[in-house]
Amino acid sequence: MTIDWIAFAAEVIRMATPLVFAAMAALICRQAGMFNMGIEGMILCSALAAATFAHLFQNVWIGLLGAILIGLLTGLLIAFVSITGKADLYLTCIAFNLASTGGTVFLMFMMTGEKSTTSGAFRSFQIPTIDIPLIKDIPVLGRIISGQSLLTYVAILSIFLMWLLLKRTRLGLRIRAVGENPHAAESVGISVPKVGYISFSICGIMSGLAGAFLSMSWVTYFMRNMANGRGYIGLSAQNMANGEPIGSSIAALFFGFCQALSITMKNQTNFPTEFLEMIPYAATIIALGVTGMLAIRKRRKVESGQAAAKEE
């Protein structure tokens, strides 16, 4: 068994890209105090939109725009039902994910007559890969960091933009204020529904980018259920880092590692595939357990510290 470790490292970054977008999408809603599970369905819808728009207009950039637009619209739909319609957010998201799993297959069938992929009927488009000058010439590192999809670099950029937005802008402060305590935020004149809608819009754009990456970079067509839990993994990544952009991306990178490991081992070893396929999901559950345990332990320590301080 020989594994090409450099190709593996590049694969980790590739697999982590949609997860980083998903984590950013999840954390902006989380910062506004909402646990948005609908990201899974939003990514799926945008992935189909990317493939469809690119095919209709025969242009990869219109595909990308279409994906972002559909991500935005689906985000606003969930926001409308849960904020204006006052529906339970969990139930809304479960219903939305259910509808988008079937709905994307239905739309794909209406457009192409196929139920599994659009690869036969639609022309495939790929978002260009970028060779970074200088870095591409560095031996090992060049092969890992350079030559990735443009969206991978956008993902890296989005981490810093998200950090800037949350920590350095008035809007970010408002979003965090609403997440911390909506009543307090309202009492100082912040419109809670408006902040909710804005967070869902940003979340939609991020989900759109994740979807576009799946159907125009990871592969160049749409397949049924291609999000395959990435939305949920993004949520878990965000959860592990308490909604901090940089920590969440590191967690997303870890999940990308697990997915790449599963794929590489499937291709290069003859270990039973069913067990390899479980790796990313099992890693998510274990990671949620471990971070939860650490958080509880930390809180206990703080509490016992406070108790000790009181006694003194």
Partner: protein, 368 residues
């Protein structure tokens, strides 16, 4: 019951019905828009499921797992925990009972075999439901995410168990060996060809309804779901009660998977989870967490599913559109604002009328 309460509960029923009608209308519009012979297709969708005893039988056959899964989700939904693991349990329990049935072989009579298999199924359900429940209780991990991830793992696990321990290599498709005759549950009611699981479903509905509305545990469970703070204030442990409810729900989902497997199939051959868990959630939402209403929701869902199948076989319309309709139904029913203006107006009017009557009476009194 006061007037306001009466209006509120009537409006709940009206809201659900209006939601269903809107969703059904959306389905008809979709069918009308995409088919080449819309009148025929719509007619098939509405009347097709009722056109032969066999099809009516298949509605009931389909409603049986929906009912059992709906009951399972009632437990989760009643305590406000969206533990979606019944989706995976349904598949895994079918797999484990097949495995046990094959190991036990032909020697055992049905009267011994079936109870053993159901116990195995319930245990499978309880053990699997324990994982997200304990993760939430001990580590504060989100139960929805954990249960969804667990479902993916379970699907691979069930396929692996089937492929490596009980695959029948003499047949062309991937499936297990045939289960012994004593483990197969017969079809009943001749022409309608209904699985005998209907008896299990009826017993389960009665038992769960009694548990919900006639025992103290049921009352505690509903209280924890509706008002956890109040439940805490009167000294109930919300955590333990919702924990127990999730385990019972898991066991129920195990029964559902086992019933479906033994009643409808002779080999285990699923390669992915079957959506029954999510269908169960829809049924529980439709039934407003009331187990007695679960069969009605289940029959409605089965009716539109069979309608979609009929349309799929007569026209060229993929049955996936039903999941969109299902989503719309949940959204409309879950949205509290949906028709809330009408409700408020009615309550307001009733109050106004009462006030007017009171005044009139007062005037009459003073006049007298």
């Amino acid at each position: 019951m006061s007037k306001t309460q009466r209006i509120e509960s009537t409006m709940e029923v009206v809201r659900t019905l209006v939601g269903l009608v809107i969703a059904y209308a959306v389905a008809l519009v979709i069918l009308f828009a995409i088919s080449e012979d819309p009148v025929y297709i719509v007619q098939q969708f509405i009347l097709g499921p009722l056109s032969s005893p066999r099809r009516i039988g298949s509605i009931i056959n389909l409603a049986i797992p929906f009912t059992l899964c709906g009951l399972a989700m009632c437990f989760m939904y009643a305590v406000n925990r969206f533990n979606l693991v019944p989706e995976g349990i349904f598949m895994l329990s079918a797999c484990t009972v097949t495995w046990v049935a094959l190991k036990l072989g032909n020697g055992l009579p049905a009267i011994v075999m079936l109870p053993i298999l159901f116990v195995v199924a319930i245990l499978t359900g309880v053990v699997i439901a324990f994982i997200p429940a304990i993760m939430e209780r001990k580590f504060n991990a989100n139960v929805v995410v954990v249960s969804l991830m667990l479902n993916s793992i379970i699907a691979f696990l069930a396929v692996a168990i089937m492929r490596y321990t009980m695959r029948d290599s003499s047949i062309s498709y991937i499936a297990s060996y045939e289960i012994p005759a004593s483990a197969q549950m017969p079809k009943i009611l001749g022409k309608f060809s209904i699985q005998s699981g209907i008896i299990i479903a009826i017993v389960a509905v009665v038992a769960v309804s009694l548990l919900f509305y006639k025992t103290s545990f049921g009352w505690k469970m509903r209280l924890v779901g509706e008002n956890p703070r109040f439940a805490g204030a009167v000294g109930l442990s919300a955590v333990s009660i919702s924990f127990a409810a999730q385990l019972i729900g898991g066991g129920m989902a195990g029964i559902a998977g086992c019933t479906e497997m033994l009643g409808n199939y002779t080999r285990f051959r699923w390669s992915a989870t079957t959506q029954h868990g999510f269908d169960g959630l829809l049924v529980a939402v439709l039934a407003k967490k009331n187990p007695a209403l679960v069969p009605i929701g289940a029959i409605f869902l089965a009716y539109i599913r069979i309608g979609a199948d009929v349309v799929n076989s007569t026209g060229d319309i993929p049955p996936e559109f039903i999941t969109v309709i299902q989503g719309i139904i949940i959204l409309l029913i879950a949205a509290e604002s949906f028709m809330s203006k009408t409700k408020n107006k009615l309550i307001f009017k009733a109050a106004e009328k009462e006030e007017a009557e009171r005044k009139q009476k007062q005037q009459a009194n003073t006049a007298a």
